[in-house]
Symmetry: C2
Subunit: 522 residues, 2 copies
């Protein structure tokens, strides 16, 4: 996966686009999909015209064709913004039925922009000229049950707005992402977003109570109940969570919201090794127990990059750094590592006491070189700013090859170390991520982009991950970029079953084509 | 759903068996399934004989043919107990392939006894003469990661044994059931067991990390990773969670274990109404926050039955009862209701303080008539004994019609009240369950069993539940008993998709036939 630096952007963008399609095994537009015709546009106008839901003006279309990073760019001629599930169903039925009416090759394929277009693998932009179907206009909160904490909302609601909505009743959303100010709940569910609260509240497979989805043929699948327990047949909503819009268009979701924590504490610790970081994690689980809400880590390389390039970044432990520099001691190149530990609970006094006991324990056990506890919200935000800003900092480092893998925790940092020891041209490797979730963000930087280098790095990372039974896409999905990589994390038998599911739900392959599971030849 | 009292059991059993099959729309054995032949037995012996995995002795077979309640009884001629996934795959492949070799009508169907045979809807016993495939001999713990808390175990491991295993490392299983001493983890996952810890740790859809399943054709689907995040394609393991063995045989699972709480507190409160119980629940979520681990309720009818019939049951609030009797006051027939609130946390002192604050708050707000806090483990167990023993107590009440529904919390107790007001022959209605999960156990008792009464009660309960978008089977699955009732909780479009999934994974319908989704005509 390739991310370009700030300079010479335009030139590199062409390379990226080509890479993007090739990585998904796509070398040409699938000729079985039709080109959108004037009569199609007339039909779309008849359904959505009254509410201004048909976008064809090139300037207005541009944001739908480009992803937020500016890396991927499609050539859609029209974007549609239904306001209701009935409108979405009418559009999908039309696109699907045209094949029947006019034979193979006349189906407008759909790129399901779930709304926020904040994905990282090119999952939400058209690859060629697919019709863009956006849920941005479906942005109504449908219900909130203040006793159970069940929120029901249309897919286009912005995550942060929903969090504010439930906050009025003492609840919070069970997920939190850097993109919360623009990402949409439908897209979160469609991509099974993980984020910063997963350690505490678990994945969306556990929090999502109900889903309303429109299938490729326009059938509305109403699974929008708010029940925590329901064992009547197969739990079909689970299929849509993480399917990246390839099985249906999610139009609404019901989600279980936990009580909003009233007290949040953050501390930042330097540890001598990844082994020590793991022991600190175990101690945190034992002593912080139910209030532990995040356990993140970054290595020294990530820290140095971020301190250099991220505006406003400050080293929370400057003296620790200074001591280390002065000593130039026996620590390995990567050490020390840094961990960020967060608690969220219902009592500031209790949480503070627990955190104090935890810190004393890990200090006494010699697991920690140094540490600092945020004294107020500002200091806590500064620590999170450092951790969350690594991505931004990395943008200023020439060509960056980015990977988002998950691994058994014991193995996860060895991948970074093995990368550093490989016999490649000079590269720098930075590792950080959600230690508590076994989720490593691996970043390799080189002075300039080289296709040859990419072809060395990529199989190494994916094969290493496969050998350790990891996932080559922990959080970000497959999109187009990684559609060809599914075999690294899923056995052939599983991919075969996925194809059966896809064929059953979207037999003509019109939903987000080229992505996740490329359309087989007919 | 029918449960018979203790007396005249044998006579009633016949009625129950007939009811059982009829409720699933099954009036005769499906002639497309073959009878097990001697050559089948020889094949099974060749695969499993060395490890004693072929059971044909009638005495040894009896427990496989009867469910634990003694209500449902099949006529299997053979039960198989593979020790490995390879043995399970060989058996399944044989049963599936015979159809190819000898034509339609020669497939031995399989009843997947996931092990413990502790189900409540006749999901785990053969309906006629299906081959029983039991995972009881697959009882090895495969791995435990003490850093992440990921446990990997074969399907036949007993839940309580697994809980003891992880306790040594400071963890607990994320589910707890009354049947924990005999139910198997594979069966828990296959039926999506809820139980007593769901409020705290969420459903198995969130806790299960990986599943290994053998499909009908003998394909091993190895999705047995221990990752908390993996977005590579559709999350197929979710399909097996709650599929009641109809999509494949679960042979192993990986599950995320939370840190074991070191402090548990229980209190028992009398509240004047279900409305007040809901307000107490909201207060508990706000003030107990992250340590709230159970919020159960029982009504007066349930309490009186249990006090009368359950050995060792004691009223935790005898004075409250006495006061009420003396007063014969304005409370409705059902009031007061009783709630059991449990906290589990990592600090006894902190939890005790939180609980004290909560109790003061709800008392001061007039939400609680009376309450008692367990002073030690013995008192806490006695309170749980009362709540968990209601099922046992009910067995002594003539004929009992039992329903396990989930509903939006605000509506759940109105079903009990509406049942009491219906114009039926004299019945008594008891309601209790997991208030925090919106899960009501509804029990109707009459002096003697009457088919006419059942035909009045059942549609009323199911239609009422459907009108309120509830589930007609919150915890117990559909089995055979409720296979015909799926339409009350799932729209036709969803059932159609389920059929597609079933057809893709088990095209010959050999897995747990007659259950969940009856086999369509060919």
């Amino acid at each position: 996966m390739l991310c370009n630096g700030g300079r010479h952007r335009a030139g590199r963008l062409l390379v990226a686009l080509q890479q993007w399609r090739q990585a998904g095994g796509v070398t040409q537009r699938d000729p079985r999909f039709s080109v959108v015709s004037d009569s199609d546009l007339q039909f779309f106008e008849s359904v959505l015209g009254d509410t201004g839901g048909v976008v064809t003006d090139p300037h207005e279309l541009a944001p739908f064709n480009k992803d937020w990073m500016g890396k991927y760019e499609g050539a859609a001629r029209v974007a549609l913004k239904p306001k209701t599930r009935e409108q979405a169903a009418a559009v999908l039925r039309h696109c699907n039925e045209r094949r029947l009416a006019r034979g193979v090759g006349l189906v407008p394929a759909l790129s399901l922009l779930q709304g926020g277009n904040t994905g990282l693998v090119g999952g939400s932009v058209p690859v060629y000229d697919e019709v863009v179907l956006s849920t941005a206009a479906m942005n109504q909160v449908l219900a909130f049950d203040a006793v159970s904490g069940a929120l029901t909302a249309q897919a286009g609601c912005i995550l942060e707005n929903l969090d504010s909505h439930v906050a009025e009743h003492g609840y919070c959303m069970p997920l939190d992402l850097g993109a919360k100010g623009s990402c949409h709940i439908g897209g979160n569910v469609a991509t099974n977003a993980g984020g910063l609260r997963l350690l505490r509240y678990g994945s969306l497979h556990g929090s999502v109570l109900g889903v309303e989805a429109v299938l490729a043929d326009g059938t509305v699948l109403d699974l929008l109940t708010t029940l925590r327990k329901d064992n009547t047949g197969y739990d079909l909503k689970q299929l849509f969570i993480g399917s990246e819009g390839t099985l249906g268009l999610i139009t609404a979701v019901a989600i279980h919201c936990p009580p909003r924590p009233s007290a949040v504490n953050v501390c930042y610790l330097a540890v001598p090794s990844f082994e020590a970081a793991q022991q600190v994690f175990v101690a945190a689980k034992q002593q912080l127990g139910e209030v532990l809400s995040a356990f993140e880590f970054l290595d020294r390389e990530s820290l140095l990059i971020t301190l250099r390039h991220l505006p406003g970044a400050k080293d929370p432990l400057p003296s620790c750094q200074a001591r280390r520099t002065a000593r130039r001691g026996p620590l390995s190149r990567a050490a020390p590592l840094y961990v960020l530990v967060e608690t969220s609970g219902s009592s500031a006094a209790h949480d503070g006491e627990k955190l104090g006991g935890f810190l004393e324990g890990v200090m006494a056990a010699g697991l920690v070189l140094d540490g600092v506890l945020a004294q107020d919200g500002g200091q806590a935000r500064a620590m999170w700013h450092l951790r969350e800003g690594i991505t931004e900092g990395l943008r200023h480092r020439g060509a960056i090859y980015k990977y988002d893998v998950s691994l058994p925790i014991g193995a996860m940092y060895r991948l970074v170390e093995d990368m550093r020891e490989a016999d490649w041209p000079p590269i720098r490797v930075a590792g950080y991520g959600h230690l508590g979730d076994g989720n490593l963000h691996l970043n390799v930087s080189a002075p300039a982009y080289s296709e040859e280098l990419r072809q060395q790095i990529e199989p190494f990372v994916y094969e290493w991950t496969a050998q350790h039974r990891g996932s080559v896409s922990a959080e970000h999905g497959l999109g187009l970029m990684k559609a060809g990589c599914i075999g690294y994390s899923k056995p052939a038998a599983a991919v075969a079953v996925m194809r059966q599911v896809k064929a059953a739900l979207d037999p003509r392959g019109i939903l987000n084509p080229y992505k996740v599971l490329p359309l087989p030849a007919e």
